[in-house]
Symmetry: C2
Subunit: 223 residues, 2 copies
């Protein structure tokens, strides 16, 4: 069976979990704290990042969340998530990159650094200026989601795709850390609320990190 | 014809240029300075990043260097660069991500910031501590390339792939900015020297940025 080396608040781990669950592929969760740089994990992935998807029986080790998702997409027929014409697939991959790179750099990354890494690992207080910037940029990203779902049923087009999974993974971590103000984002909230009620998403929303608790609305599908 | 909106020292633009040239696909270069945030460019790509590949006749706009490369790979038969079994393709994509993300964050990004952006745009001197860190991390990446080409003819396996193009694109920018010390990296140097003599690479190596000149060895295929 696949073993997913992951960290609960790693948005890239969450994206892979969502994909595997949507496709009905069984996997075991192996908790990995990336900052510990555990030797066996560093040996498996020299870049030291979660997620890693490993199958010990077939001796397959997959590294990098986008490479993992492309592999799963290429090797399964069920529930295609990178779909349509070459242009439609390019639009899906553009949005995956937008959330993996820009949303993460602007919002999820700074929130994780200030609210988790500093608390658990560095024992420092968060910097309020950094948190304010992240929340301001989060508004801009939520406005872009509002715009997209005003024009399309799902983020990249007529059906659910990897773009929705990548966005929901980032948003779920930012929301867990209290970094999102949903006021004024009715379209984005409606899209995310549909997502929260999916069976693939429920286990993620039920998890809690030891010392960090999410806001009350976090796991509420009606919020 | 394709129009590539690109910046000469953007490693992601260079990766796409190398791919198009290796595949023999004609394209026009359109110079774009990302920091200017030109309105027409921001309208085309809200993320504001180079490269963007645009075909005005067919009204196709492709954004994000990996999405562009996957599109080109899917729509051309010539010179496949994401090749082999699903596992081999995953290994190619792992290495592309390693160079696009880790090499860029550790080496190319800081060098561009200190040696180009501060000089041309911010009119500030570079920080020597940041430059030292980038050059130290560059050594670690070059050691990893030494290791890979000790075990394989090309970075990801038996044939040239997107992994080689992604690595060469990052390395060429870092080398232009004088951030690489090749001493002790004979394997990496031999691999890169083969690359420098390819017809796809020659136009890149011949270009010069206005105020910033590369070291003497930069375009020398025997160096």
């Amino acid at each position: 069976m696949w073993q997913l080396y992951q960290f609960p608040l790693c948005p890239f781990s969450r994206k892979v979990r969502l994909m595997l669950s949507e496709k009905g592929i069984a996997y075991e969760l192996w908790r990995e704290n990336p900052w510990e740089m555990r030797e066996a994990f560093m040996h498996m992935n020299p870049a030291g990042r979660t997620p890693v998807l490993h199958d010990p029986e077939r001796a397959i080790t997959l590294i990098d969340s986008r490479a993992i998702c492309e592999y799963i997409e290429e090797t399964t027929d069920r529930v295609p998530l990178i779909i349509g014409t070459a242009s439609a697939r390019a639009e899906i991959r553009r949005l995956v990159a937008l959330f993996d790179e820009n949303f993460f750099a602007d919002v999820t990354g700074p929130l994780l650094n200030e609210k988790m890494k500093k608390r658990i690992f560095l024992k420092q207080p968060p910097e309020s200026r950094v948190l304010r910037d992240a929340m301001r940029l989060a508004h801009e990203h939520l406005y872009y989601i509002d715009y997209l779902v005003d024009h399309r049923p799902w983020l990249a087009g007529p059906t659910m795709s990897m773009a929705d999974l990548a966005a929901a993974a980032q948003i779920s971590v930012a929301d867990y850390l209290g970094g999102l103000d949903w006021n004024g984002h009715d379209q984005a909230r409606a899209w995310y609320s549909v997502f929260k009620s999916r069976p693939s998403f429920r286990p993620l929303l039920a998890e809690r990190m030891e010392v960090i608790q999410p806001p009350i609305h976090y796991a509420d599908v009606n919020a």
